[in-house]
């Protein structure tokens, strides 16, 4: 894909999301039925400059990411991290950014070795049964990476198009030096938050041919999954209390699944 095609894709993707957001129902981002940031599993490696620790909640949210020792990038104040799905056919939003949309069934955890071990899978089905989202967590400690494979299964009887987002309210370096302020920017495959002369966290996709883009979120309460670019800053780089988003468009035939892989890396 050439540079111009790539930029055109990002623009079209953003505009499509915008148009959809305008035509769809108002976002459901008001009621939070479950806002539990408790760590179900915590993974720790290294020490000092090699220290890398993150944790996953029972609902599949990463509510802590600390690296190196003493530098937390998510669990500052009330952590917000997670996933969102937009059913483009029904225009219904489903999300859980540690505070969910209220239209999910309870999460099912598959973890043969018990808490704090891999493999770890967290499976959730929409309360209307239309899809199931399975999240498989892993890590690459040498690269300070927490990896999430997100598989979305269309449980319906016809093909559907979904928007799938991963979001984190990045508060890099314990929230930065002044308030909770970080630098943010995004690319085709990633979005990141950091402070100059310190550390940062980058959310990126494993290369895929599925439609996708990284976004910066000016808010810190999670994007509308049907319109992930709606709170992008007018200019980037952006300095503020923001978040990072990876967004995908998935066309999934009836009964089939699509998988995307995202990674959080401390840099």
């Amino acid at each position: 894909m050439s540079s111009r095609k790539l930029l055109l894709f990002v623009l079209v993707f953003t505009l499509a999301m915008a148009a959809f957001g305008q035509n769809g129902q108002p976002p459901l981002i008001t009621a939070s039925q479950s806002a539990d940031d408790t760590c179900q599993s915590t993974y720790t490696s290294g020490s000092g400059v090699t220290f890398f620790r993150f944790c996953v909640t029972a609902n599949g949210n990463i509510t802590e990411l600390q690296s190196p020792v003493g530098f937390e990038h998510i669990r500052v104040g009330s952590p917000s991290e997670g996933y969102g799905v937009c059913d483009n056919a029904t225009k219904v939003r489903y999300y859980d950014y540690v505070g969910d949309s209220g239209n999910w069934n309870d999460a099912v955890i598959t973890q043969p070795g018990g808490p704090n071990t891999f493999p770890l899978k967290v499976t959730r089905t929409a309360s209307d049964g239309s899809f199931t989202l399975t999240q498989a967590f892993s890590q690459k400690t040498n690269e300070r990476i927490a990896k999430i494979a997100m598989t979305l299964k269309n449980n319906g009887s016809s093909s559907k198009t979904f928007s799938l987002v991963r979001f984190a309210n990045v508060n890099a370096n314990n929230g930065g030096n002044v308030g909770i302020l970080n630098n943010f920017d995004s690319g085709a495959d990633a979005a990141w938050g950091y402070n100059s002369v310190l550390f940062g966290v980058r959310l990126s996709t494993v290369p895929t041919t599925l439609e996708h883009a990284g976004f910066v979120d000016m808010s810190n309460d999670g994007p509308d999954p049907c319109f992930p670019g709606s709170s992008s800053p007018p200019q980037q780089p952006f300095y503020g209390d923001g978040g990072v988003i990876m967004a995908y468009v998935l066309a999934v035939p009836a009964g089939q699944s699509a998988t995307v892989n995202v990674e959080y890396k401390r840099f």
């Binding site: 894909m1 540079s3 990002v10 400059v49 100059s196 550390f199 780089p237 840099f267």
Partner: protein, 274 residues
């Protein structure tokens, strides 16, 4: 913020400040010294390592002198081999206040012996090690190359040995004239910034290239320069700029450490496309 994190913040900030002040102090002593760039740059690929296609494509190449002079990922997006090709290594003998460097077209100091390539299976294969000794015999720099294709990482382990009978204080630099996204369609304008462990160049809504250190207790910092020719290793702060910086800049990692007589130190750096 916890007391621990505050203490860690202070320690790291102190480390960066001390490193910067030490370098700056030395830079003041070196003002007015003439550049020693020699015209011995080569940008020819001795080995090329290709992987994937389309979105997963990850190709890079290494020159016979050990410069990483091409980095393409994904397909159609080159981040180094654009126009003026600068990438490589620099060493400062702080004790003697003498610089040794080879940044390909970004400048060469002309005081290195011919490199020795160790590559048992021949060109375009791993393992690949390139060893160079300075012409005065004081240092030997051994560079070992590897990659992580799933993470689009080209890794360079740089081992520097003090061949003398006395201790040395050394600055070691890895430098890249990043021209991300085909030099941003040819105008060479990229966004740049840096942290403690890394420095990077990119364009918003496109791709970028980061150079990072593998976590280490050796004093180090990422750096961004406003120019696309490489820094004098003994004077590396001359062209640093406030960041975020938008322009035709460059990025690198500076490490500072002492070497006893006959001692070696290894610093590993990684280039990753993001």
């Amino acid at each position: 913020m916890t007391a621990l994190s505050k203490a860690s913040n202070r320690k790291i900030s102190l480390c960066v400040v001390i490193l910067a002040l030490a370098v700056f102090s030395f830079a003041q002593d070196q003002q007015g010294q003439e550049s020693n760039h020699a015209n011995t740059a080569s940008t020819a690929c001795q080995s090329t390592f290709n992987f994937g296609s389309g979105q997963t494509l990850f190709n890079f190449c290494i020159s016979a002198n050990g410069n990483l002079v091409q980095f393409t990922s994904p397909e159609g997006f080159e981040h180094i081999r654009e126009g003026f090709i600068g990438e490589g290594y620099g060493v400062c003998d702080f004790t003697q206040k003498k610089s040794y460097f080879n940044y390909a077209e970004g400048g060469t100091s002309g005081n290195w012996r011919t490199p020795v390539i160790t590559q048992p299976a021949g060109p375009n294969t791993f393992p690949l090690t390139i060893t160079r000794t300075t012409s005065d015999g004081i240092f030997t720099l051994t560079q070992s190359y590897s990659r992580n294709t799933s993470e689009r990482i080209a890794k360079i382990a740089m081992t520097i040995r003090n061949n003398t009978g006395g201790p040395k204080t050394v600055y070691l630099i890895r430098f890249a004239d990043i021209d991300a996204n085909n030099a941003n369609h040819g105008n060479s304008m990229n966004e740049f910034d840096f942290g403690i462990d890394s420095a990077w160049g990119y364009n918003s809504h496109a791709y970028g290239l980061a150079v990072s250190t593998v976590p280490t207790t050796v004093s180090h910092a990422g750096m961004v320069w406003s120019r696309n020719d490489g820094p004098d290793p003994c004077n590396p702060l001359v062209y640093i700029v406030p960041t975020p910086f938008f322009g035709d800049g460059s990025a690198g990692i500076l490490s500072s450490f002492g070497l006893a007589a006959g001692q070696s130190k290894t610093i590993s750096v990684e280039y990753q496309r993001f």
